[in-house]
Every structure is written in structure tokens, then in C-alpha cells.
């Protein structure tokens, strides 16, 4: 029954994709060209990697809206760092640093969500040390006491660390609502990047050489009447991650723990799942995917603009929910998610092909979310009623 009903969602979304493609193809034959197909695949790569992370969070009964901001930090900070270092090597180092930034920011989210004592203590410690240290430095500067810079920094630093140490010891872990935390951190990560790292985009010719090479890392290039069209190798990254997540969710106890957590958190705890560890993993993994995706984005778009990406969360969440993931947790699949992403990408790209103004895209996505969540809710209601009739209520 589970398989049948899951299959049903997937078949339904698949059918919609086929029908929609045919309609668009009839209206505008450009839809079926190789150039457009490659274009769809490129957009799908980026949204798909995000969607894998969102899928895991949603199955666990949470939500993450900070992943776009994590991607921005990863993309922009890594690129800037490479430029400062005047790095000449291959792009792989950028992926590693991007992934690391993503994991750290994901752990920062987890510190507020998972209830982990140690993550919460570390975050509290750092926050208090930085804020108190900064204030003391400002006071010392205002007092105009003649001090060497070294002395100034070390006095402020030590005076900041002491209260941080004592306050952090009293923290026993936070369990805050996931939406609130990630809304906050989204703003925090993005604001931090724009304020401290800079608001200006880095164009393709200013990129580190490794990244420049990566721009043209194509699997195939085909000459058409309108020029060369190519498929970027980043799609392999998506395919690899999709298989990884599929195995994780279906064949590991950790994955089943994520489903269990989303279905009945208390029962999961009583059964012996370490809920805190599972949640730390989830948010760190989402951060990892977003971090990698920040670099993928740079490679595909050939520009590092800290003003982009944030704002596309809704499209990704819509795609995952359309693919059959239950927004209340406990249900969702990788295959459904891929189909959901395909549908949203086709909608987004093809509305333009059909001559619909891009401002209407948001209206369409809004409708998709309402229908996509409304239909399963209605089905659940109906099957519940049927159950009551069967058991003779």
C-alpha cells in the first residue's frame, strides 16, 4: 500500500510533466530543442541539489529556509578567499572549502534546533566572547588610555572569554522551532556576507583560474544553428548526491531514524534513536549540500553575486512538496523529489517560452504549493473517513 500510494504520486507528477511538455512543445517548438533540454538540466542540477537537502529536513518534520543563504556564503566567501590567497590550483579545493563552510553553518543551525548541549555551549561561548570582547575594546578605545594594539586586543579578548566561559557552562541545549531558527540564520548569514565580505559581484574573468577552467567542464558540446550548446558536468554531482541520499534514506538506520523522527518524535526517542544526533546530522548535511551547491552555482552561472540565490527557497520547497513529501514530516522520496524539481523547472523555464511574464511565475508556484499540499491532505481525510466506516464507528 505504501509503495502503491507513493507510486501514485510519482506517476501523477510524471503524467503532468509529460502533458505539460506536450502542450508547451505544441505552442513553442523551441521546447524540444537540445539547447532547451540542456538549459532545463542545468537549472535542474542546482535546484535538485538544494531539494535533496530540503527533502531530508522535511521528512524529519522540520523545515530549513537558510540553505540558500548558506550557498551564498559558500560561493562568495570561498571565491574571495581564493582571490586573496591568489590560488592557482584546481577547483576541487573550492568545493572542499565550500562544503566545510556549509557544514559549519549547518551545525550552527543545529545548535539551536537539536538540543545538543555541546553545540549550544560552543555557540554561546563564541557569541558572548565576541560581543563582550568587542564592547570592552570600544570602551578602552573611548577611554583613550594609551595602549599598544597587542595589549588592547589581548585585554579585550581575555575579558570577553571569562564571562563567555561561565555563561556557556550554564547552557543545557536549545530546542527551538526549525522555521524560526533558519529564518533568523538566513538573514544572519546573508547579512554577514554582504556587510563583512562585500556586496559586489565577481565576474567571470576575475575568477580564480581553477574556477575559470571549471566553467567549461562540459560532458558534451553540440553545435546548433544558433551556436554551441553544452551540458555541464555538474549534473554528475547531482546524480551522485541523489544516489547517496537515496541509499541513506532507504538502507541505513540513520535514514529510517529520520523517517521515524518525522512520524512520531517521542516514539523515536523511546525506541532508542538518538534524536539529537540525527538532527545534528540533518542540518549539517543540508549545510554540506548547500555549500557544495554554492560552488556549483558559480560554475554554472560564471559569476559570484552575493545578492542572488536567497529568495528561491520557496521554489525548492514547492518542488519537494509536489514530489510527495509531507510538509508535516514522515513522508517523501528521492524519486518524487526529482520529479517535483523537474515539474517546477519546466514550469519556470517554459512559462517564458510560452510568452508568460516572469512575474506570473510566482503566482503559478503559489498555486502549485496550494494544490500540491491540498490534494494529499484531502486524500488523507478521505482515507481516514473510510477507515472509520470499516471499523464500524
Amino acid at each position: 500500500m505504501l509503495k502503491r500510494s507513493l507510486l501514485k504520486t510519482e506517476i501523477l507528477v510524471g503524467l503532468v510533466i509529460v502533458i505539460l511538455s506536450m502542450i508547451i512543445g505544441i505552442i513553442n517548438p523551441a521546447y524540444f530543442t537540445i539547447a532547451n533540454t540542456f538549459d532545463l538540466l542545468r537549472s535542474g542540477t542546482e535546484m535538485g541539489i538544494f531539494a535533496l537537502g530540503v527533502l531530508i529536513v522535511i521528512i524529519s518534520g522540520g523545515i530549513d529556509v537558510s540553505f540558500t543563504a548558506i550557498a551564498v556564503v559558500s560561493m562568495y566567501v570561498t571565491t574571495k578567499m581564493m582571490l586573496w590567497m591568489n590560488y592557482q590550483g584546481p577547483v576541487i579545493l573550492m568545493f572542499l572549502i565550500g562544503a566545510l563552510i556549509g557544514i559549519v553553518l549547518g551545525l550552527f543551525n543545529a545548535a539551536f534546533i537539536s538540543g545538543s548541549k555541546w553545540l549550544a555551549r560552543i555557540v554561546t561561548f563564541l557569541a558572548i566572547a565576541i560581543i563582550v570582547g568587542y564592547l570592552i575594546m570600544q570602551i578602552l578605545l573611548a577611554l583613550n588610555i594609551p595602549l599598544l594594539a597587542v595589549a588592547l586586543y589581548s585585554i579585550s579578548g581575555v575579558l570577553g572569554l571569562i564571562p563567555a566561559f561561565f555563561v556557556a557552562r550554564m547552557v543545557h541545549g536549545f530546542r527551538l522551532p526549525t522555521l524560526i531558527v533558519t529564518l533568523g540564520t538566513q538573514s544572519l548569514y546573508r547579512g554577514f556576507t554582504l556587510f563583512f565580505i562585500g556586496p559586489y559581484h565577481i565576474i567571470d574573468r576575475d575568477m580564480p583560474p581553477g574556477m575559470k577552467e571549471y566553467f567549461n567542464n562540459y560532458i558534451v558540446s553540440i553545435k546548433t544553428s544558433e551556436g554551441t550548446t553544452s551540458l555541464h558536468s555538474a549534473i554528475f554531482i547531482f546524480i551522485f548526491l541523489a544516489i547517496l541520499v537515496y541509499i541513506l534514506l532507504k538502507y541505513t538506520m540513520l535514514g529510517r531514524g529520520i523517517y521515524a523522527l518525522g512520524g512520531a518524535p517521542e516514539a523515536a526517542e523511546r525506541a532508542g534513536f538518538n534524536i539529537t544526533a540525527i538532527q545534528i546530522f540533518i542540518y549539517a548535511f543540508v549545510g554540506f549540500l548547500a555549500g557544495v551547491n554554492g560552488i556549483v552555482h558559480t560554475g554554472l552561472i560564471q559569476i559570484a553575486n552575493p545578492q542572488t540565490i536567497v529568495g528561491t527557497e520557496l521554489f525548492v520547497i514547492a518542488a519537494v512538496v509536489l514530489g510527495g513529501a509531507s510538509i508535516t514530516g514522515g513522508r517523501g522520496s528521492v524519486i518524487g523529489t526529482i520529479l517535483g524539481v523537474a515539474l517546477v523547472i519546466i514550469m519556470n523555464n517554459s512559462l517564458i517560452l510560452m510568452g508568460v511574464s516572469s512575474t506570473y511565475q510566482r503566482v503559478v508556484v503559489g498555486l502549485i504549493i496550494i494544490i500540491g499540499t491540498g490534494v494529499p491532505a484531502y486524500q488523507a481525510l478521505r482515507s481516514e473517513r473510510r477507515l472509520k466506516v470499516i471499523s464500524g464507528e
Binding site: 500500500m1 538506520m253 529510517r256 532508542g272 534513536f273 471499523s391
Partner: protein
């Protein structure tokens, strides 16, 4: 003679000065079906939690097949094969039957990867063990309560259960489902697995039990072979026999009835209810849960809409369509669940008492007169003997009995003519209970009409002068308290 599986010796447990368990002992043999019986608050759940390791007892010992435990940890209880099936089952609604059964087992074996074929096999074996057939690939949320319970039982068996404790397992089951649950329990017995069956349904206990232990007020009343019991005896042991006080003597104070209810009907809840309440009367309304007694009380208080029938107060026909109407006509209602419906838990005792009568303590310009407020509150704290160091403390700091007095004070302050009390002493300890009864009797003697809705039989006989019996939304019988015994009323209450 079967071997002893579990021996609980002289266990005591105190919560904030209240003895929840007082020197309780119980022995369960291998393959025995043991029933644990008692009213609410008798200590049944505390005992279960001690046996499963959730609570640490203050004194006594637990012996499981020769191993002595002063303090049993939950994980030790599981390793010793003690499994509790709680009323919420702890299942995952989004996962399949197979996975729900096998998941805990796989976790306990510290598996990192999932072998789906093995999960199905394990689940199938577990279900076969209790001889039931449930589709392994159905999600739990699509199952009936009875099937969920069977899944929970087979999951418990996978953990090598030797004793399965079922906490009120039949509450949400139909008669047929109860029968099949009983056959499962009997099958377990054949495999040498013991069951501790916690219930307060007499007929079920008499049917399934081999040994029965009755608890009251945290103490063991009796623990004996099932053949020693019959329905009357169980009621006697459960409720106790300390009803030496005579029932309330009602003396006629007036010819006109205070409240007259005629053919009151509320579709699906109750039908054609008629009765009269005289000044000075304490009228009991009883019946099983779901018989419409609470709905009737709510209808009199203007909460439950009515479809037909008439109400008169002091001979005058009145319409009560909302709570405001009821209060204006002098009807007060003390709800069943005082925590959620009757009190502002975080607010002070004083504010809770004064909330219904703020109009009377205003000064000339319409603000609250603090002197009046204080004397008003102090009067009621004293009148109802609410035990607190200060009326400025939050209500939640009080015990159940004292909280109930605050609810009473709140309504009494507004001087109602008719006071409806729904389950006035649920969760209230014995001492406070009789004091509350005393207060209620005094109120009636002063001319108030009181309606008590309860299924606490001794309470009804003790406090009321007349008792009405409801069944399936209809008034089926009426008794004078002096003319019926506790056992007779209990029998009338439960008979089909």
C-alpha cells in the same frame, strides 16, 4: 506450580508528601494473567511505572527471576523482558507494519543498515506468534486501534518479552476486538508469557483474570485467586466500605421547584430529559462515560445547544442559550476538568476567586477597590478553608483538593441559586474529599440547589438525597439515596 517471574516486595513511593504507593507487594508467575484493578488515583499507574523502571521506589525491592533490584532502570526492565504497552502505543504512523514491528529490534541489535527482506521476515514471525494476520505493507495510520495494539504487542514480543503490561488496553476497543485481544493474551499464556492487565472494567477482569489484585489509595486491598471474586466483591474492594456517615437528609424548604427541566433534548447527546430540583436538594446524576451526563450539564449552563424542551427557574420559564444567560439566572458550573476549564493556573488564588464577581468590588469611579478585593478574597479563603500561605500565590501551587475549593469559591462568590458540579472530587485525595462533601451539604442546607454529576458511587450515596441514572442519553431510573446500597447502584450502573 509455575515459577515466579516477578516479585515486587513492600514497595512505597511518595510524591510531595502524598503516598502514591504504600507498602505494596505483588507476585506474578510465569504465564500468569494477573489483573490490577482500582479506581483513578489508586496507585495502579505508579505501580506499573515502578515495575518498568520509570519511577524509583522510596523503599522495597523488585525481584525478577532471582535478581534483586533496589532500583530498576528502564533499560534493565527491558533486558529482563518487561514490556509496557501504553495507551498511545508509541508506533510510527508513517511507517509500514513490518518496519514498526522490526525497527526497535534492529535498533537494539545496533544495526547500521537496513535489510528489507529481513524486516519483513522478522515482522511476519512476530505476527504469526500471536496468530494474527495484518498486511505487512500497510502504513500504521491506516490501521484500526485494535490492529495498532496487536502491532505493539508483537513488537514487544520481539524484544523477548516475558511480562507484558497492558495499561487500560480495552478503552478504545469494540466488544469483538476485546474478544480477539483476549484470545491473543491466552495464546501468550500458552507460551509462558505473563500479562499484567490493568483495567477497571469488571466484566473483563472476571473473564480474563487468573489472579486479581485490587488497589485503593495506594494500598493493596486484596490479591487473590480470580475464583474468589464476583462483581459485587470487586466493587466492594475497589470502593471500600467506609460509608458510615448517613446520607444527606433533605428537608423541604419550598413548594416551587428551583429548576424544572422538561423533555430537554440535544440531538445525539441526550433525549427527553425531565427532572425537578427543589431548593435544598442535592441531586446526583450518574451514568457511564458517554451516557450524555456531561452534555446535559453543559446544556443547563448554556454551552451545549438544545433542540427541544423547556427550562424553568423558580417556576418562571427561561431560555438559556449561552453562558451569560446561565450566570444571569443564577446557575454556576464547576467543570469536570478544572485545570483547563475552571482555573487560570498561572494567576493568583485571589484573582481566580474574584474573577466572577468583579462587578461587586468596584469603587465609585469603576476601578477595582483593592480593600474590598482583599476582604472578599480573605473571606472565601477562610470560608472554604483553602490551605495556602498567601492568596497571592499561583493556583498551580495548590493540591488538587485545594484547587477545587478555589473553583468552588469562584462560583459561590457569585451567589448562584443552582450549582452544577461535574466530577467534583476527581483527583482529590480522600481527606479533602469528605471536607468538600461537607461544604456541599452546608450549601444545600442554606437553600441552594446542587446537582452533582459523578460516577463515584460512594460519593453520590454519601452526598446526594436523590440520584438519577442516565443511559445512552436517556433518564432511565431514579433512586432515593437511603433506599439503595452501593453494590446495587454499581450493578444498575453497569448492567446492559
Amino acid at each position: 506450580m509455575a515459577e515466579e517471574l516477578l516479585k515486587v516486595q513492600n514497595i512505597s513511593k511518595t510524591f510531595g508528601g502524598v503516598k502514591a504507593l504504600d507498602d505494596v507487594s505483588i507476585t506474578i508467575d510465569q504465564g500468569e494473567i494477573h489483573c490490577l484493578v482500582g479506581e483513578n488515583g489508586s496507585g495502579k499507574s505508579t505501580l506499573i511505572k515502578v515495575i518498568s523502571g520509570v519511577y524509583e521506589p522510596d523503599g522495597g525491592e523488585i525481584i525478577i527471576i532471582g535478581t534483586h533490584y533496589k532500583r530498576l532502570h528502564p533499560i534493565e526492565a527491558i533486558h529482563e523482558g518487561i514490556q509496557v504497552i501504553y495507551q498511545d502505543f508509541s508506533l510510527f504512523p508513517n511507517l509500514t507494519v513490518a518496519e514498526n514491528i522490526a525497527l526497535n529490534y534492529q535498533l537494539a541489535k545496533n544495526k547500521q543498515f537496513v535489510n528489507w527482506r529481513e524486516i519483513r521476515q522478522v515482522a511476519k514471525i512476530a505476527l504469526d506468534k500471536i496468530k494474527v494476520h495484518i498486511n505487512l505493507d500497510v502504513r500504521i495510520e491506516q490501521l484500526s486501534v485494535a490492529d495498532k495494539q496487536l502491532v505493539a504487542i508483537s513488537r514487544a514480543l520481539l524484544q523477548n518479552a516475558r511480562l507484558i503490561i497492558m495499561d487500560e488496553p480495552t478503552t478504545a476497543l469494540t466488544n469483538r476486538e476485546v474478544k480477539s485481544l483476549f484470545s491473543v493474551i491466552t495464546n501468550l499464556q500458552k507460551d509462558g508469557i505473563s500479562t499484567l492487565f490493568v483495567s477497571h472494567k469488571l466484566n473483563e477482569i472476571l473473564e480474563i483474570s487468573q489472579r486479581t489484585m485490587v488497589m485503593r489509595n495506594g494500598k493493596k486491598v486484596i490479591d487473590a485467586d480470580a475464583s474468589e471474586f464476583n462483581s459485587d466483591k470487586l466493587v466492594y474492594y475497589m470502593t471500600g466500605h467506609q460509608i458510615e456517615d448517613v446520607s444527606y437528609k433533605y428537608s423541604k424548604k419550598s413548594e416551587t421547584s428551583l429548576l424544572k427541566v422538561k423533555e430537554l433534548t440535544s440531538g445525539g447527546n441526550f433525549e427527553q430529559i425531565s427532572f425537578e430540583l427543589m431548593p435544598g436538594e442535592i441531586l446526583g446524576i450518574t451514568g457511564l462515560l458517554g451516557c450524555g451526563r456531561t452534555e446535559l450539564a453543559l446544556a443547563l449552563f448554556g454551552v451545549q445547544p438544545i433542540d427541544g424542551g423547556t427550562l424553568s427557574i423558580n417556576g418562571q420559564p427561561v431560555k438559556i442559550e449561552n453562558i451569560q444567560d446561565a450566570v444571569n439566572h443564577g446557575i454556576g458550573y464547576v467543570p469536570e476538568d478544572r485545570i483547563t476549564e475552571g482555573l487560570f493556573l498561572e494567576q493568583s488564588i485571589g484573582r481566580n476567586i474574584a474573577v466572577c464577581t468583579l462587578r461587586d468590588i468596584l469603587n465609585t469611579i469603576g476601578f477595582i477597590d483593592n480593600n474590598k478585593l482583599d476582604s472578599h478574597i480573605n473571606r472565601w479563603v477562610k470560608n472554604l478553608n483553602i490551605k495556602t500561605p498567601s492568596h497571592e500565590l499561583a493556583v498551580k501551587t495548590l493540591s488538587g483538593g485545594n484547587q477545587q475549593r478555589v473553583v468552588l469559591a469562584k462560583w459561590l462568590a457569585s451567589a448562584p441559586k443552582v450549582l452544577i458540579l461535574n466530577g467534583p472530587t476527581v483527583g482529590v485525595d480522600i481527606g479533602s474529599k469528605s471536607e468538600l462533601h461537607e461544604i456541599i451539604r452546608n450549601l444545600a442546607e442554606e437553600g441552594m440547589g446542587v446537582i452533582i454529576i459523578s460516577d463515584d458511587i460512594p460519593e453520590l450515596l454519601h452526598t446526594c438525597n436523590r440520584i438519577l441514572l442516565m443511559k445512552k442519553g436517556r433518564m432511565v431510573d431514579e433512586f432515593q439515596s437511603e433506599e439503595i446500597t452501593e453494590n446495587e447502584l454499581a450493578a444498575k450502573l453497569t448492567e446492559e
